[in-house]
Symmetry: D2
Subunit: 467 residues, 4 copies
Amino acid sequence: MKNLLIKNGTLVTAADLFVADIFVADGRVIWIGLLPPGGEEAANADITIDAAGKYVIPGGIDVHTHLDMPLGDICSVDDFETGTIAAACGGTTTIIDYAAQNRGESMAQGLETWLKKAEGKAVIDFGFHLTLSEFTARTLPDMEQMVALGVPSFKVFTAYPDRLMLDDASIFKVLKKAKDLGALVCAHAENGQVIDVFIREALAARQIEPKYHALTRPPAVEGEAVHRLITLAELADAPLYLVHVSCGDALKHIVNAQNRGLPVYAETCPQYLVLSAENYDQILFEGAKYVMSPPLRAKQHQECLWQGIRSHAITTIGTDHCPFNFNGQKSRGQDDFTKIPNGAPGIETRLSLLYTEGVGTGRISLNHFVDLVATSPARLFGLYPQKGTIAPGSDADLVIFDPTVETLISAVTHHSCADYSLYEGMRVKGMPETVIFRGNVIVQNGKFTGTAGEGQFLKRKPYASTR
Amino acid sequence: MKNLLIKNGTLVTAADLFVADIFVADGRVIWIGLLPPGGEEAANADITIDAAGKYVIPGGIDVHTHLDMPLGDICSVDDFETGTIAAACGGTTTIIDYAAQNRGESMAQGLETWLKKAEGKAVIDFGFHLTLSEFTARTLPDMEQMVALGVPSFKVFTAYPDRLMLDDASIFKVLKKAKDLGALVCAHAENGQVIDVFIREALAARQIEPKYHALTRPPAVEGEAVHRLITLAELADAPLYLVHVSCGDALKHIVNAQNRGLPVYAETCPQYLVLSAENYDQILFEGAKYVMSPPLRAKQHQECLWQGIRSHAITTIGTDHCPFNFNGQKSRGQDDFTKIPNGAPGIETRLSLLYTEGVGTGRISLNHFVDLVATSPARLFGLYPQKGTIAPGSDADLVIFDPTVETLISAVTHHSCADYSLYEGMRVKGMPETVIFRGNVIVQNGKFTGTAGEGQFLKRKPYASTR
Amino acid sequence: MKNLLIKNGTLVTAADLFVADIFVADGRVIWIGLLPPGGEEAANADITIDAAGKYVIPGGIDVHTHLDMPLGDICSVDDFETGTIAAACGGTTTIIDYAAQNRGESMAQGLETWLKKAEGKAVIDFGFHLTLSEFTARTLPDMEQMVALGVPSFKVFTAYPDRLMLDDASIFKVLKKAKDLGALVCAHAENGQVIDVFIREALAARQIEPKYHALTRPPAVEGEAVHRLITLAELADAPLYLVHVSCGDALKHIVNAQNRGLPVYAETCPQYLVLSAENYDQILFEGAKYVMSPPLRAKQHQECLWQGIRSHAITTIGTDHCPFNFNGQKSRGQDDFTKIPNGAPGIETRLSLLYTEGVGTGRISLNHFVDLVATSPARLFGLYPQKGTIAPGSDADLVIFDPTVETLISAVTHHSCADYSLYEGMRVKGMPETVIFRGNVIVQNGKFTGTAGEGQFLKRKPYASTR
Amino acid sequence: MKNLLIKNGTLVTAADLFVADIFVADGRVIWIGLLPPGGEEAANADITIDAAGKYVIPGGIDVHTHLDMPLGDICSVDDFETGTIAAACGGTTTIIDYAAQNRGESMAQGLETWLKKAEGKAVIDFGFHLTLSEFTARTLPDMEQMVALGVPSFKVFTAYPDRLMLDDASIFKVLKKAKDLGALVCAHAENGQVIDVFIREALAARQIEPKYHALTRPPAVEGEAVHRLITLAELADAPLYLVHVSCGDALKHIVNAQNRGLPVYAETCPQYLVLSAENYDQILFEGAKYVMSPPLRAKQHQECLWQGIRSHAITTIGTDHCPFNFNGQKSRGQDDFTKIPNGAPGIETRLSLLYTEGVGTGRISLNHFVDLVATSPARLFGLYPQKGTIAPGSDADLVIFDPTVETLISAVTHHSCADYSLYEGMRVKGMPETVIFRGNVIVQNGKFTGTAGEGQFLKRKPYASTR
């Protein structure tokens, strides 16, 4: 493995920003310093990269992905190879994907299935959360086993009755067990029962177009579920991580809980910051592209979320990357919006969108940007300091980010297999020019140069062990 | 029927307070005025009562009672005769009791059963709410029938899974139907599933004493359910009436909803204003007397509730009178608090407790007192102006209230069949000296002088028709 | 004085609504009842009015007027005759006007001046508040004298530095004294110092049009002063009455204070409910008509205020009637908005506007309407039960209100001397058809039939004596 | 100047925590890395310090000190030598002191005076804020000059009328000017006028003991001033830094402002976190030691402040070090609490108290600790990245902090000249063992080894230039 010297870059961490040289060996950062004139030779690096005028940031960590995810008889279109290549090209060097147990299966079986999906394919490191599809006598013991195997986070749903929804008693027991294990519960918060009543009414009234997906899941059903989950977590004395928070109705309860000192964390996704429910009004069946849960919201919620980011109520930015093709998959719902598979691609555009709309507009600082896309995810999910920062001893997962390059987002150029992009034609400024993963350059000028199977499974530490 | 003249009393309504004479004929108030000197003769009344120095207020309306209510193989100990006599002696001339359907039964059958319970027994007027014990295909049509029969309010539970709890989808459908019918949904708000987890943990740990009844139903489970119900009502565009609100955790959501303009109403009960969780610490099995749901709360919640009353967030004072004997009934739970029948007597002490602790302490005005115990209940539940005020044409249900008399509350002297009182030994100041029901004196100096069976079933108007 | 029988009207008070007959003698209500068929003769009234299909409500009480008020070298254009005639025609039978001391003068001198202004002119009853123009050694003793003379309310300003503004220390002392006296402090809440900075900047930038009146007094300066005054009142343990609340920024602090149980009261005026800052954008100098303080606000504040009314955060509706002519008076500010005299007419349109926009739209009930325009003002300012309700023994100040009549508001037809109306061309539904003052009909079908000088000075009871 | 190698320490910044070696030359950090076995020789350092098992953190920055500060005819007892030695011994390597203009003087004269006070004395670096004692025609131009001279922060008072208080108009102008200059306004928030009324009442009632200092400045007067200042800052579109926030009444407005996205910052001090108003009840005149403004508060405010720290509502920890001797200075107020000089020592105990009570109790993380005492102060006040972090190129101001050492706080051992300590006898765990200032060891095992006059005046960047 070759040594690497990154010179003159502006190093950015969650707290710091300064010009420095970085020396990498054996896949790890060895030192950060200021080489004296002529010091480069003394450093004796195999490869030297000049990062002058560019930012050197920790590789991004996307803690919300769904690669190779089955949904009924179809599957999300990116597997662990295409999905992680897209991630890498977007500046992400670690993902935490949602492994799921099938009903009747043990969690270990679910994990095993997902490990096989990733094997020989992932080009960057990966960890797993475990999604609970039911609550049975073996749920709590299984959780203990998962933590021991390096999977200390579990997802519960208050939505999708009959498929994923757990009742309050079960969620409460999961939270109590998570507390005991030091694990973290991730929750999808929407009141699935109320949504079902709305859906039945809509279908009965022949309201079948994609926009009814949004209209049958109003912000209040997310707000309600968030409030309920926070109450349950508080009663269980457990931390809580709310995935893909999409609206002010949810955020206000999160802010309130945090102001009271509760360990409640929130994730949002670029689509909720950048897109809005207006997309559902596109002609023909175009609106189907934006069918995801929670749905895109009215525009005013965007500012709520940005304010939540600014005030640190929102901790992380994930993507909920769950790509389905418009042709052949989304199109199943042509005559019934409930048949449109929920989900959309986004794994590649996370950093550039957040940089453009966050840093570029002055909404957040560069440090805050790094914190949202890398450091906080690493800390919350037990990967820090191996991942999520630039420090001697840490994995040399680094992104050389050029803040000046403008690019156009398009399905034509993106690396996902999805046949469309949520952001088609959108211009972003700021680009992960070079991506270094465990000391190897895997992306150069937007071209992927890495190797399938180089990504490793990360056994993560429990949440509580890092507090 | 004899004419009646009440002279020189200080007439108090929800808004007014003035000295006046009241003339009653044919069971109704005919006029309110100032007789000139010697005018009494002209009035030509059969009976004249001098109310100088006393308040004349509308007869109280208790909208939350459970008379002759079966619970498993036992029954609340007051039937419609003893229960309404106790009510009358306490200054209440109308009750609205909770009729219930048995599972499998139609609502009409439930109503029929309760009408029979009251027949020939009730000494004052009565209406019914209908308690839903399940949600089936006939629930919504049945609701329509009930409204037509003068029963335009329905109770749903988020507590007591497997017995009374409806899931969110069912409650939401009930709310939507109520909206269509102009009816009002009354809700018992506690998260029954979370409570069940707590209860199982408690029993597993051999925590069997009465105090664990309270510890397994913390305020947060009430707060959560209230927030959830408010969200459902808002989404259904329906009004909501929260019964027996017991704590600040619930009230804050109610205040917030009202501040946003939602038609959300709250009832509390004297026990939550006057007693506290400290009662569960009484020696031996005494704590069982206070086992009700929601349970008594820590003392600081009393001030929250009083503040909710003062700011009009709380609309009505009911009793949740549901008396079980300490000996023989409560005692079933000697070795397991979950076997203690939930409920306690209180129908007779509503006015005197609220007057003593509310008006006597300066917390509320006399007008507000009348509003809480009579006028607001009448308005909300479709009885106004027949009931709930003193006006020409209204039923002559009147209480001559002597604010100076002090009495001691005791099971020895109360009229309920219950073998104990929640307030044993408590001193109250202010007493319903004379109670007039439809123009007849039925209580005189605390002695009941009325007749069983004189009470009539009141067909009530729907909520929406009175806005 | 002739006896009067009002038959078949729908009597409305702050709490009640029922059909009844009302008998009036000697200027007072004698009885309210239901005459038997043929009973009219027995009543033997001199005059009988059939009010079938109409509301009979208590005469309105406008607690915020400025009649014959000097401002520099000009004067508001209505004196106590034209002003009270306009009031009467609008259904108002009592006003409380702001008497003011000149600097250097005692309060008694100020009161004396105002009593003379009213003498022989007022056609309805009147009381006075006393406006403090300075704080001196005799301020506190003078307050005591005023209370003894029946003037138990005092106005302080946080606006208008160098003319009316008191510093915080002085206001705090006034509040403490008011507490001792049981009196009520009325406050004009705007941060006058911040406004002055804005004004100087505006003039320096040659921003001279009427709209800069509003732009130099943004809602936040009202919000700030309201918060400050509430803090001072809380520290002084004194009640506080905030006059002409105009915006959500102010209201949120009031709601918060009331939710904490503080005796904080708020008044708003029809102009803030019905008009908006858009009026300042009218062509030419038309915007000057709307120059008042606080200024009209952006439209969203209207809904805030209506919500404040609905939730009872706002207690009373006054007019702040302070009419200046557009020609000759307002026009002084043609080249400098600071020279436009602040104030506008409104005394006549209070009931019809509030009825149309409040009751007519379903925002508030009829009872609430009566409470806002009559009962609450009477209670807060020590006139109840002589005024503000319909009860045996109360003054027979009654309005027969026809809810069906539509009229057009116009300066052509209004009774104020002002040469314009804020509401020119606006259509209202609901009209005070007949106005009875102390038992005499003074307005019939919109025609004034009363007599100058019949109005009496009302010695009011202190706030605290009525709690 | 000698090179320095710090080996094996656990480096802690505001975001990171990892074991690393640090190499220092020419007063600056050169590199941070992991020396290979035997690499120490290659590093060729003059001095090597083994920091194994200890934290290496950035030198502390205390942005609120009053050294050599005149108050009437006395002076705070620490000059820039004794004061900075005490600071250094406590782990602080930079202070920002409040230079003040005398009334009538220019700001430049004030700055000149303070520069002379520091000259030849300061053992660590220092910057200045400028305290406004009046608002005159030259205030705004003077501010511009100060920014140019590296003094881009200004202090205003809403307290101390007749001595320091500015009226709202002046403060508003200062905020607007600060906005233009990119400068930061620091505010002492208490309503001085209300306090004066309370003080006069107290003295009139012969309430002269130290505890009346606290009773005459209740939390609400701080809350009021904070709300007012935030409104002014919002209207001026300027950032605001609230010094020595002491209570929940103030904090709630800060939280609210931050939740709305306003650039409002808050500082608190160890005394408000650790001590309470109970100290005023000490026997004899002991309470005088705790006389400072704002005063110590009731205990529940401590938890409010900690919660404010945890949720990042509070940004920095300063000391407000302003030491007066108990004997001879505080004693002037023996018969009149208003004559007790306001202020107390604290410059030396900032880190150890915050570490003990914050990190030691689990309330905050080590990163957060570093952020509060060093990084946030450096960022806000224009010193970053020269100060406030550990990074190549930054000043080598470093503290080797031993988390295991327990010490006793006492005036006997502290380095301030003050004849008492607020924390006498309090035990703290965690101690700045070695303090390195610009690459020189100036404290070793608690012994000061530096040199007077080595501290340099820091010209600071304006707030806005660092966003």
